[in-house]
């Protein structure tokens, strides 16, 4: 099943399948290790369009709501 980061459930993990953004967006995500194929776990979301907290390669990252919408994850 594919979800974007916002609709993914807290505490679940998966593999990044695609980034729905331009080159700049992919570059920005890529710098932090968010690339297609990378393992990712959602720690928590924040209400009222708040940021999503994920764990990628042993590091927690806060990602704004709009950007999180564009990160598509394959959840097993």
């Amino acid at each position: 099943m594919k979800f974007d980061l916002v609709s993914m459930e807290d505490g679940t993990g998966g593999i990044v399948s695609s980034l729905d953004g331009g080159e700049f967006f992919s570059e920005k995500m890529g710098n932090m290790g968010i690339v297609p194929g990378a393992a990712i776990k959602k720690i928590t979301g924040h209400f009222m369009r708040g940021p999503v907290i994920v764990k990628v390669k042993d590091t927690e990252i806060a990602i704004g709501y709009g950007m999180s919408k564009k990160i598509i994850v394959e959840v097993q």
Binding site: F24, K28, F47, I53, E60, I61, A62, I63, G64, Y65
Partner: protein
């Protein structure tokens, strides 16, 4: 002279290594973006002097951001690149290492935070890593200094790596190298990790943040008031006061020199708050009223910074910050601003766009009073009870929100979303923490004391020359007419350009009502930044934006002063 560049991802401890190598004190914290400017220092290398440059952290060398562009430029000049890696996050850090290696500069790799790998169940095979990468790899723990001499010793072995890397997929390459050189051991979730999750989840995180804020406030007040009541006030009242009375007994009260050095005697005695002499009020305000609060504030702030809690407040307040056209990380300049607006103005550089920097700097300069000013307001307005204090700080908070909403509506440009690494919690090193507190306190003393003295001197001269009276008459329509303050308040406003703390202190002898005291305190906080902050803001924003920012300050001050006069 050889140039050595310290480079690496954000928050890997570059500044900690820098200060170990050079002996120069620099501020270090546990979050990304503490270093916003290049810091230069010197060290001895093989009997020769070498220059070391602490380069702000970058994730990549793709020139996608301003920081990366500058880092790329720096690389051309460097003779040796010291690539600093957070040893607990080898794979993540190796991507930049691979990019640096492909630039073919002589380099050396530092595995910082080596001590922490053990707690985290990570074992790195250093010789294996050296063999793969073909450059020296030195494990260190910069905060304790472990491994630093080894680093210096091996600096000259730095070499160009012959490693052939798959440039198309750096992450995969980094993963392969990390896989070959590092092993993980199973271990249980540590307490700090459980706390990390709880403090970032909204349901538990927000209550935790409120408790942290309340406790921080209590500690700052407890230490600040304790130091004032038990150490500084007794010192001034019992020792310093009698001493200057004796030492300067030859001066006659009322004479010019007496006025300037000691000031006015209140009921035949020195009153350290009201006398306004260089050796009385001029010393008492910065040393006995402000310094204790500055010390206790930086102690608590330092703990929040080094533990890694600060960026978490940023994430939790991201929602609120969006309403004012910023994102969560802008909380960092605001928090720093509570200490002193000068470093806070510089910290606005962590924000990406001009719009964000403008909004953040303007909000900070108008509605965030610095600790010097807060301490004085506590001391003066606090005498009239919690309600008066709440009126002062409540008004500033409302101003912050209202101006933020307004600027978000009116100012054109982009405000990107938050995107930031959250550092793991770390137990602050007591020694490092205290060094940082003393560095900031020393900076305060060096900056504040001369300016306060200058301010006090200026007041005396302006009074003597009748300038204050003249300005008071001139400004009366605004000061008395709109804000309901006596003409004499103009003296405080003039001195407020120099130092806000003395300015608040100057309200003491004016015999203001509580209402007037509240209005004057708010107006002093808002109307203009002190000269030191002003100078930095011009540098950060440029003349044009600073002019606009100043205009916003003046208009909002008049508005708020007038409204308070009507409703209080």
């Amino acid at each position: 002279m050889k140039k050595i560049l310290l480079m690496g991802n954000p928050n890997v401890g570059k500044s900690a290594v820098f200060s170990r190598l050079t002996g120069v004190d620099v501020i270090t914290s546990n979050y990304s973006g503490t270093t916003v400017a290049y810091t230069r220092g010197c060290m001895r290398l093989g009997g020769e002097k070498a220059e070391i440059i602490d380069v702000p952290g970058v994730y990549s060398l793709s020139a996608a951001s301003k920081a990366e562009e500058v880092a790329l430029d720096m690389l051309k000049e460097g003779d040796i690149v010291v690539n600093i890696i957070d040893a607990t996050r080898l794979e993540r850090n190796l991507k930049l290492t691979l990019q640096l290696m492909s630039r073919l500069s002589p380099m050396l790799i530092v595995l910082n935070m080596w001590d922490e790998t053990k707690h985290r169940g990570i074992e790195i095979d250093v010789p294996k890593l050296e063999e793969i990468l073909g450059v020296p790899v030195v494990p260190v723990c910069a905060v304790t200094g472990e491994g630093i001499s080894d680093l210096v010793g091996r600096m000259e072995q730095s070499g160009v790596s012959a490693f052939e890397c798959d440039v198309k997929d750096l992450w995969a390459e980094a993963g392969r190298i990390a896989g070959k050189s590092q092993k993980f051991f199973h271990r249980h979730h540590t307490f700090l990790e459980t706390l990390a999750d709880a403090s970032i989840t909204p349901l538990t995180g927000i209550p935790i943040a409120l408790v942290v804020a309340a406790v921080s406030f209590k500690i700052v007040r407890f230490i600040g008031e304790g130091l004032i009541g038990y150490v500084f006030e007794p010192f001034f009242e019992k020792l310093w006061g009698p001493f200057i009375v004796k030492a300067l007994a030859f001066l006659t009260p009322g004479g010019l020199l007496h006025e300037i050095l000691i000031g006015k005697l209140i009921d035949g005695d020195i009153d350290f708050v009201q006398s306004m002499g260089l050796l009385t009020t001029g010393l008492f305000v910065p040393v006995a009223m402000v310094l204790p609060y500055v010390f206790s504030f930086y102690l608590v702030l330092g703990f929040l910074e080094d533990s890694g809690y600060l960026p978490r407040i940023g994430v939790l307040s991201d929602n609120l910050m969006h309403r004012v056209g910023l994102h969560g990380l802008a909380i960092i300049p605001m928090m720093l601003g509570l200490g002193c607006n000068v470093p806070a103005a510089m910290a606005t550089r962590v924000l990406e766009t001009r719009r964000e920097r403008f909004i953040a700097a303007t909000l900070m300069a108008i509605a965030i009073p610095c600790m010097a000013q807060i301490a004085m307001v506590m001391g003066l307005v606090g005498n009239y009870g919690a309600k008066a204090l709440a009126q002062v700080f409540g008004t500033l908070f409302i101003v912050w929100i209202a101006l933020g909403l307004l600027q978000n509506l009116l100012i054109k440009g982009d405000s990107p979303e938050i995107f930031v690494e959250i550092p793991p919690y770390r137990m602050p090193y007591v020694k490092v923490l205290f060094e940082k507190v003393f560095m900031r306190v020393k900076w305060f003393v060096k900056e504040a004391v001369p300016f306060v003295m200058l301010g006090v001197l200026l007041v005396n001269l302006l009074y003597a020359l009748g300038v204050i009276e003249f300005l008071g008459k001139l400004a009366a329509p605004v000061i008395t007419g709109i804000m309901g303050l006596p003409e004499k308040t103009v003296a405080a406003l003039v001195v407020g350009f120099l130092r806000k703390d003395v300015a608040v202190g100057m309200l003491a002898p004016l015999g203001l009502s509580v209402k007037q005291l509240v209005i004057a305190s708010v107006v002093l906080a808002m109307y203009f930044p002190c000269v030191a902050t002003f100078a930095v803001l011009i540098k950060e924003l440029g003349w044009k934006d600073m002019l606009l920012s100043s205009l916003i300050m003046i208009v909002s001050t008049l508005l708020v002063g007038g409204v308070l006069n009507l409703i209080l």
